[in-house]
Symmetry: C2
Subunit: 217 residues, 2 copies
């Protein structure tokens, strides 16, 4: 191998490799700038390829690229929730939140733009992708809690807490990432327990969970 | 006056009256059907006027009519928060929530379409209108609590609870308006106190509030 190896931009990539590279480039651009401020030229330039090449992979242009990048971000986010079903419950929740908050930290601008709504690239498809992540989060929480059939009050509590986590993440970005992520994570876990305890006053299923969590610590 | 009085649709209205009538008609249509499913013809027909007349008042067509209807709904929603600064705090919050939940009940489909995102009529302007209502809600809560300068932890707690109320309203609509509004309202008030109590563990300002609320009951 000579020291003058070709630069990565000119290396011959397979179709799948090229597609992944373009997606990754798009995702890192969309993560830190509003979709309005990104053109296909920016993506081409950052990937070191021509604009027609980007179009060849994404004939639907920026909207298609945005949706593909969003789906890839949604997959990444789902992986944050992967947590072995072992050990005490609240530390599992803490670890998943740590990964989630690291994701929010890494995709700050894109995360805000996506969730604050009213963006030019927002469609019923992007909304469906985001809703899918929320549903996955709720299912993960319920599966760790060992609940196969949540009643309406427990379901509302979990969904409400997930929305609250999302809102807290946006506010956290808005406040210049204060308080520190560790404090935010502990606060969110405690909010989860507190919300469940309120529901437990009028719901036997939630009451049993609160007791299980207390015994688990 | 003869018994054959003209029907309201043909009564000569002033410019302001006509505008109000069209807005009210639009709002009642947008309240119960998705914006995608409403045409200017529907608005004209429901108001008993011609389509060109609707265009004369709203030259920007459906988008302008939607935004005007949304602004009028936002005003109505702000009025839900009007509550005298008198008497114990939590009952004040309960009364405001009662009015808010009645609003949600009356504007069910429109409320969901607006807040679930991805609608064709959603723009940065509609997002700004909704954010204005959220900010107004937070300011009302803080003014009743007598807090002029909320610290970041208290601010986050209040904003998070307001988002949680919104989420709970959407879930409530989604679940066929179950549980009954009185139960939902009590649960939301208790969630407010519980969220504040969690924050109070690491925030002196919130701690003072929790004590004041407990003494106030």
């Amino acid at each position: 191998m000579t020291p003058q190896a070709p630069t990565p931009a000119y290396r011959r990539l397979s179709v799948e490799e090229r597609r992944s590279q373009l997606l990754e480039t798009a995702l890192s651009l969309f993560a830190h700038r509003a979709p309005e401020d990104i053109s296909l030229d920016d993506v081409a330039e950052a990937a070191g390829v021509s604009r027609p090449l980007v179009y060849r992979y994404f004939p639907g242009g920026k909207q298609q690229l945005y949706e593909a990048a969003l789906m890839s971000a949604a997959d990444e986010l789902r992986h944050c929730f992967d947590e072995p079903h072992e050990g005490p419950l609240l530390p599992r929740l803490s670890r998943a939140l740590d990964r989630y908050l690291a994701f929010v930290d890494q995709h700050d601008t894109g995360f805000s733009a996506l969730l604050q709504g009213g963006s030019v690239v927002e469609t019923s498809r992007t909304t469906a992708i985001v809703d899918g992540v929320r549903r996955a989060a709720a299912e993960h929480v319920l599966s760790h809690l060992g609940i196969a059939e949540p009643g309406p009050r427990l379901r509302m509590t979990i969904r409400m807490w997930i929305t609250a986590v999302e809102a807290a993440s946006l506010i956290w970005l808005d406040e210049g990432k204060q308080p520190p992520p560790d404090e935010l994570r502990d606060w969110l876990v405690e909010q989860f327990v507190a919300a469940l305890a309120v529901t437990a006053r009028r719901d036997a299923q939630s009451d049993a969970l609160v007791r299980a969590l207390a015994a688990d610590l």
